[in-house]
């Protein structure tokens, strides 16, 4: 299919970008405002556990993509069925991310521009990158994620004078059950979405390093998101609860000596690059997956039509921000749990059982 190879380090960086992706502009779980960063630690832990399950699956079937594993474990028909389910997941994830970013643009800068004018160039670039293969995506990602991390450090410096630790209190004013529920929500979005990488892991050139790389990426991304949340709460305070895009407002408040002010465009563009990577990966998984389902030789010709599909899906899935917010709050935890935890667990279970049965037969 795609001959490209990526290194474990590039995988780590990809996981980071993907996880940061669109969460950074529209976090889930803002009801818990000040406690959010604590809950995130919990969610990261849960997310790592979920990821480990999926990685076990890869360990057991080294070099195979998720769909190939399905075919092996559930047979050709069952495998195809599950693969189709997952195609839907990829489509959904990509479309949602796309819609978030376009909404962000429209709310903050381009109030009059029609959606298409924003979506079409974005998708063209995504399609271009996807066609080039995972190697190119990984290579392009390197400078982008480095820039994101550098930006974080600079942000920390810039907000030191307006950070008010008192804003972070009170902690623990949330009932535990609520906190747990929110943490699960975050564990599946964004951490759980990394199950997508099961389509990409076979492309890594050093198999043994894969597990470590993915987990490292998630921890890195978790740390990043945590810090951003921490800073946002500290700077913006309770007002952040009502904001649709809290981190954006956070950057609007930076003001050093009246000179370094109005800087919010740079982080905005930077967040978008993370979104690009995420959507590129979603489209890639979608294209490669479709090609595998239909036993095609290459995924390349599919990228363009699937990209168009993704664009249209973005329209249909979340035509308004309110619908999206509702989806994230009410539907996504179940949706994500199903795909990130239940299905991998099921696959692993069946695979183990089959293997055990086979051993019994042959012994």
């Amino acid at each position: 299919m795609d001959q490209g190879k990526i290194s474990p380090w590039q995988l780590t960086l990809l996981v980071m970008s993907f996880t940061i992706g669109n969460w950074i502009v529209l976090p889930a779980g803002t009801e818990a405002w000040q406690n959010l960063w604590l809950i995130m630690i919990l969610a990261l832990g849960e997310g790592l556990v979920f990821a480990y399950l999926s990685l076990l699956l890869f360990r057991r079937f080294p070099g195979k993509t998720l769909f190939e594993i399905f075919a092996l474990v559930f047979g050709s028909v069952g495998g195809k069925f599950l693969s189709l389910l997952f195609l839907w997941f990829f489509l959904q994830t990509g479309a949602a991310a796309l819609m978030i970013f376009v909404t962000l643009l429209k709310t903050t800068i381009f109030t009059a521009t029609p959606d298409m004018a924003l979506l079409v160039p974005w998708m063209l670039i995504v399609i271009y990158g996807c066609r080039r293969g995972i190697e190119v995506i990984a290579r392009s990602n390197e400078p982008l994620i480095i820039a994101t991390i550098v930006l974080l450090f600079i942000s920390v410096l810039l907000v030191l004078n307006i950070l008010d630790p008192a804003n972070l209190l009170p902690l623990f004013n949330l009932p535990l059950s609520d906190a747990l529920w929110i943490s699960v929500g975050i564990a599946v979005f964004p951490f759980g979405q990394n199950v997508l990488f099961l389509m990409i892991l076979p492309r890594v050139n050093r198999r043994q390093k894969v597990t470590g790389a993915v987990l490292k990426g998630m921890i890195g991304a978790g740390g990043y998101l945590l810090l951003i949340q921490f800073l946002t709460v500290g700077v913006v305070g309770k007002v952040g609860e009502i904001y649709v895009f809290p981190s954006y407002e956070f950057y609007r408040m930076i003001d050093i000596a009246r000179v370094l002010t109005r800087l919010e465009l740079i982080p905005l563009l930077n967040f978008m690059t993370m979104g690009f990577i995420k959507i590129m990966l979603c489209l890639y998984a979608l294209a490669v997956g479709t090609a595998q389902v239909f036993n095609l030789r290459t995924y390349r010709p599919l990228v363009f039509p699937l990209g168009a599909l993704l664009l249209i899906a973005a329209f249909r899935f979340a035509p308004s921000i309110s619908q999206h917010l509702r989806f994230v709050e009410e539907v996504n935890p179940y949706f994500g749990l199903f795909y990130s935890v239940f299905l991998p667990l099921l696959t692993l279970g069946v695979a183990l059982v089959r293997g055990w049965l086979r051993r019994r037969v042959t012994s």
Partner: protein, 407 residues
């Protein structure tokens, strides 16, 4: 399409069909034009915005102070400051509407250019509107992406339009002058500068009351000037009372917002005054609560120096310094006391006691929340002020020094 270089083939980007399709796609954005493109000379830069009740007492009336960019240019042959045929660097525009947003849109009917709100420095709210409720007016300012919420918020008893029409002193635009004024006052700790976001922050705490500086027009010898000498207390969303300068200072003390400024005391051991310059002030606020009420501890530590004196006594001796310190502490305590009294009168928690409890002892706060007014008024407040006079300036004895009677 051709194989990419990654696969060892030559980098031939497009097949014929692909190239054509790409061309078509690339032309799409050009078809419609650039929707959000705003040429600079199609914008009316709004520097100051005034909000007040509409003509029939409902709706809103807005005043915009718009910059005439050409007149701001570096001083040319015409000299500075609107002399001889030059137009005013700003002009005022008024519009009304049922919501703030609609009023803004109505304003564009009168302006040849689109109103651009991103650089609004001050939002001035008329007291009438303040008495009716501020938050609905602010909704547009927060919700829309153009206005920035880190800008200043003020009240005024006069008409906002009149305020914005006052001839600015050193600046060219009144709104800029007002913004500078606020900051200067803040440095001398005479008012508490409030940004929109600060107002919101406090507003979102259920027990706290807001304060906003009040700017008004003072006419001296036919000339109009702007001064800020009072603070308005806003409970819930409505203006309920005022703090005079002394009470304002008290508020600042409690909230640890004193950064500089002066305190004038009666000079010990003689007639005349001594003015102490405040270098540094730290206030530690502790609020504790039990089922019966709350206990508040306010500890103020001040470092100051002798700035000027009108008495002939030598104030630089250790004795005198001690007395100066005591007197200063007294003055500060009085100010705080005055603020507390007024707040209790108005039953408004302007200091943020509730906020403190909310943060540090959330359960207790939840218990007391519903009857907060009562608890606030009945709070036991313990104030302790510690002053340290570190310097006396460049000289010790005043030039008119006379040895005190009896040594």
């Amino acid at each position: 399409m051709g194989r990419t270089a990654d696969q060892g083939g030559r980098n031939r980007p497009f097949s014929k069909g692909g190239l054509r399709l790409l061309m078509i796609l690339l032309l799409i954005p050009l078809l419609g034009g650039c929707w959000d493109l705003r040429e600079l000379d199609s914008l009316a830069l709004v520097f100051g915005m005034g909000l007040d009740l509409g003509p029939q007492g409902d709706g809103y009336r807005l005043t915009f102070e718009i910059v005439r960019a050409r007149q701001i240019q570096t001083p040319g042959p015409g000299g500075s400051g609107g002399g001889g045929g030059q137009r005013n660097p700003y002009w005022l525009l008024q519009a009304t509407g049922p919501t703030v947003f609609e009023a803004v849109r109505n304003a564009t009917l009168q302006s040849s250019r689109r109103l651009f709100l991103s650089h609004t420095q001050v939002f001035i709210i008329g007291e009438e509107l303040a008495k009716a409720g501020i938050s609905p007016a602010l909704d547009f300012i927060i919700r829309d992406h153009e206005p920035r919420i880190v800008k200043w918020l003020l009240l005024t008893p006069d008409e906002p339009k009149q305020v914005l029409a006052v001839e600015p002193g050193l600046e060219q635009i009144t709104a800029v002058a007002i913004a500078d004024l606020i900051q200067n006052y803040g440095i001398t700790s005479k008012i508490k500068p409030v940004r929109v976001v600060d107002y919101l922050e406090t507003r979102m705490h259920k027990t706290s009351a807001n304060t906003l500086p009040i700017i008004r027009i003072k006419e001296t010898a036919g000339k109009k000037e702007l001064i800020i000498d009072r603070t308005g207390v806003i409970k819930g969303d409505k203006l309920v009372g005022y703090l005079d300068p002394k009470e304002t200072r008290g508020l600042l003390w409690v909230q640890d917002e004193v950064d500089g400024g002066v305190v004038t005391v009666d000079a010990p051991g003689g007639e005349g005054k001594a003015t102490m310059e405040l270098f540094n002030a730290d206030t530690k606020l502790t609020v504790e609560g039990n089922e019966h009420g709350i206990q508040v501890r306010i500890e103020v530590k001040v470092r100051s120096g002798l700035g000027a004196q009108t008495t002939s006594v030598d104030l630089s001796t250790t004795n005198q310094i001690e007395r100066l310190e005591k007197r200063q502490a007294e003055v500060i305590r009085e100010e705080i006391g005055a603020a507390l009294t007024k707040a209790r009168d108005l039953k408004a928690d302007i200091f943020g006691f509730g906020e403190y409890l909310y943060r540090h002892d959330h359960r207790r706060w939840k218990g007391l929340e519903s009857e907060w007014e009562r608890y606030f008024v009945g709070a036991e407040v313990d104030v302790s002020v510690e002053v340290m006079v570190e310097e006396v300036g460049l000289i010790t004895k005043p030039t008119i020094y006379r040895a005190p009677e009896g040594g």
